[in-house]
């Protein structure tokens, strides 16, 4: 009987591919849409694969590079903006090469489902001269991950496996294979692994030579015993029909929209295959590139002097899809069902969960006249209704350093308004890159206040362990970073630990900290309400006899508190966890259990 195929998430398939390729070390920092790769790796036995959550992507990449040079196939996984943090090791690892294979899995997020920008990883790759593979379903996630390790070793280069949200978070059918074991012998070689100017000058030559080999490999001029997954399929009468160059998820969209076109499906999108593209162009009608985000492939094709269309039709913003491609190319509108009468559909953006400790912090912050530099995590949502409690969000760790910059700007500019500035940052984000910023505040005599929202987990990405918790990715007990001692050690003595649900104490702590002329840290400590061990004992109720329908409790912006059409206020027992934050909001004491 034929073996039943597995239905794997793209990210699970990458993990499976790495496992089958014999990966021995995986170090990552969580980030949507890449997180499930390393979570899946952690389900393989610790004897076979060492894995960890690193404090940030730079550390993760360096761990992977180190273990690969030592002779074990290694991988680091991150979201697109994570590669900015890990760009430093990537660029120089391109010079050193790898010994055993190193794969950087980088997940881009066209459409920004859970990100702050739409940058295109392929430019990082081109700039660092490292090859990029782009799978378009789970089967290719497995195959390309294995191929990435082979290319990495054969050409002595780190390899980027680029996913996008729709590949990472789709499930499709795969067949599993056995694990292979690959190890390399480490030999000390400072001319290869110690990049000082004299060595790096020589290695730059190696990078250029490798680049030429990669380009030939991509075009199929040489094989190096590798099968590069750049596939050409010609339509019948191809000269009269469009020829589409595409990769990744766009290949899937394009196959649906253009069933009769010729295709050059690129699995390796850097370096691009000059010979293949030229040949394809001569055999097809209109040459079209379909790609999300930047015109990376299109620019190259145009540089070859070929007549090509792409962004002329398709936006560089957001994700593409079959409807967007049909509309842009054929001017076709979708044949959608329509409602029988107009319905005013209210917006439904994500909100803080019922019981979320961040709610209390932003309720308090919204009442104080302060400038607030925010950061990346669930608490970014403090920028929206009803709190509007954040002024800025830029990148991981930026809250602390931007608040310092704002404070210094106010000192230098006499006319600037003298609003006090605070930074708000989660525990995991603080460890990721808030620590160095806080050292800057202390070292350079800043006086800003940093509020660390310590919810004892990495929340936004779906609960990953972090160094402040004292547990590893495999839930083994380990040392916990002591945030109070850490602040003290870098020279900040003004540290207050407060339970954000004690909103009076929190308010006083913030007002006190901003009134003092020294740098300060407030640690607002309460675990994420979604953690299994958090149990508030079930939903609260409103005593309708006592309730005066004033709506004070609703100002917290809790999704479990609703007003009915008759004006009465109710607690939705299917949503309420019973955290009790609203009890103190009621002037009549009408809420309880």
């Amino acid at each position: 009987m034929e073996k039943l195929m597995e239905l794997l998430l793209g990210n699970e398939a990458v993990a499976r591919g790495a496992y089958e390729a014999g990966v021995g070390v995986v170090s990552s920092y969580p980030g949507t849409p890449s997180t499930e790769i390393t979570e899946t790796i952690a389900k393989f036995s610790a004897e076979e694969v060492y894995c960890e959550w690193a404090p940030n992507e730079k550390v993760a990449a360096e761990v992977a590079i180190g273990s690969a040079i030592a002779g074990v196939r290694s991988m680091c996984c991150m979201k697109h903006v994570g590669l900015n943090v890990a760009a430093d090791p990537l660029f120089t690892c391109s010079y050193t090469g790898v010994n055993a294979g190193v794969v950087f899995v980088v997940a881009d997020d066209p459409g920004m489902f859970s990100s702050q920008n739409e940058q295109d990883t392929r430019f990082h790759a081109a700039s660092a001269h490292v090859p990029v593979l782009e799978p378009s379903d789970s089967r290719e996630c497995i195959e390309f991950t294995k191929l990435a390790f082979e290319i990495s070793e054969k050409l002595d280069t780190p390899v980027i496996l680029r996913l996008t949200t729709r590949v990472a978070h789709q499930r499709s059918l795969v067949t599993l294979s056995e694990r292979t074991k690959v190890t390399k012998k480490y030999e000390k070689n400072v001319w290869k692994y110690a990049m000082m100017p004299a060595m790096a000058k020589k290695r730059h030559v190696v990078v250029d030579e490798r680049q030429e080999r990669l380009a030939k490999l991509s075009s199929g001029e040489i094989t190096e015993d590798l099968t590069i997954p750049n596939r050409v399929v010609y339509a019948e009468d191809s000269g009269a029909k469009p020829g589409i160059i595409t990769s990744g998820i766009c290949y899937q969209y394009a196959r649906e929209v253009f069933p009769d076109a010729s295709f050059l499906k690129l699995g390796l999108t850097y370096p691009l295959p000059e010979k293949l593209i030229r040949e394809f162009a001569t055999n097809v009608g209109e040459l079209i590139v379909i790609e999300e985000l930047e015109p990376f492939i299109e620019n190259y094709v145009r540089m070859l002097g070929l007549d090509v269309s792409g962004k002329k039709y398709f936006s560089n913003r957001g994700e593409l899809g079959t409807a967007a491609i049909r509309r842009a190319y054929f001017g076709e509108e979708p044949k959608s069902a329509t409602a029988g009468e107009e319905v005013k559909v209210p917006a439904r953006p994500p909100v803080f969960c019922a019981g979320c400790p961040h709610r209390a912090v932003f309720y308090v912050l919204s009442k104080l006249k302060l400038r607030v530099c925010g950061d990346i995590g669930c608490y970014s949502m403090g920028a929206q209704a009803p709190y509007f409690g954040i002024d800025t969000v830029v990148c991981m760790g930026a809250s602390v350093s931007m608040a310092h910059g704002m404070t210094k700007a106010m000192e230098i500019d006499e006319d600037a308004d003298k609003l006090k500035t605070v930074a708000v940052i989660g525990d995991s984000t603080f460890i990721h890159s808030g620590i160095t910023s806080l050292i800057d505040v202390a070292y350079n005599k800043g006086n800003s206040t940093t509020i660390i929202l310590d919810n004892s987990i990495t929340g936004m990405t779906g609960h990953q362990q972090n160094p402040a918790m004292g547990f590893t990715i495999r839930n083994e007990k380990t040392v916990a970073t002591d945030l109070v001692k850490l602040a003290n050690a870098i020279g900040i003595d003004d540290v207050t630990v407060v339970d954000p649900f004690d909103m009076k104490a929190l308010r006083e702590a913030i007002l006190g900290a901003v009134s003092r002329d020294n740098p300060s840290v407030i640690i607002a400590q309460r675990p994420c309400a979604l953690l299994k061990y958090v149990n508030y004992g079930g939903p609260a109720h409103i005593d309708t006899e006592k309730c005066i329908k004033c709506g004070s409790c609703m100002r917290l912006g809790c999704p479990a508190i609703n007003r009915k059409s008759d004006g009465s206020v109710i607690i939705d027992s299917s949503q309420c966890v019973g955290c009790g934050l609203c009890f103190g909001m009621c002037p009549k004491g009408a809420i309880g259990k």
Binding site: S114, R171, A323, S336, A337, E341, V343
Partner: protein
């Protein structure tokens, strides 16, 4: 219902169990030997936001995503979400929606009003519409957590070539053993509701 190719859009509010429903349906398609792709949404939109997942099955599926006008069936866990995502349903497609209402924050804060004409507008639409209170049905089965499986039970009646045995195997492979009995009852209830 056409048996070869079927696009099922599952919509609701983050936290309602849409992901589990899409896994379950995807698993059933897989056991039935169909090509199948599932598209999920993770991350920020799971925090009480509007969520959508897609299950596509057929002889060969390319895109995992169901785009505007491409869904044959929409399974909606919350009534206003059915209208929000209606443009993704093809003309003449089928909506199966729970009548449950979950107020978005904009309504809670008084910045918007929860519309009172959702079911009426759906009934007058150019789609076939099945609506019932899946939350009440789930409560009757003993747990509000089984709304997703009840809705899948209703859906199962529209897919002729996936047999009850396959659905039952898929359910066993999707839910934890201690919740199996509860979910089996919920699925059976969904599969036998009168409309």
């Amino acid at each position: 219902m056409e048996s070869k190719k079927l696009n099922i859009l599952i919509v609701g509010v983050g936290g309602q169990g849409t992901l589990l429903a899409s896994k379950f349906i995807g698993m059933a398609a897989r056991l039935a030997g169909r090509d199948v792709k599932v598209s999920e949404v993770h991350g920020m939109s799971q925090r009480g936001g509007s969520v959508v997942t897609c299950v596509k099955m057929g002889d060969e599926v390319f895109s995992p995503v169901i785009d505007l006008g491409e869904a044959d069936v929409m399974l909606s866990f919350e009534q206003v979400e059915a209208v929000r995502w209606l443009p993704y349903l093809k003309k003449g497609g089928t909506v199966i929606t729970s009548e449950q209402k979950i107020e978005p924050m904009s309504v809670v804060l008084g910045d918007a009003v929860y519309p009172d004409n959702v079911i009426e507008a759906l009934e007058k639409s150019d789609a076939k519409v099945i609506h019932f209170d899946a939350l009440k049905a789930a409560e009757a089965q003993g747990s509000v957590k089984t709304v997703n499986i009840i809705l899948c039970g209703v859906l199962s009646r529209m897919i002729d070539d996936i047999t009850p045995d396959i659905w039952s195997r898929a359910l066993r492979m999707t839910v934890a053993p201690k919740f199996l009995e509860m979910n089996e009852k919920a699925f059976a209830a969904g599969a036998s509701i009168d409309f």
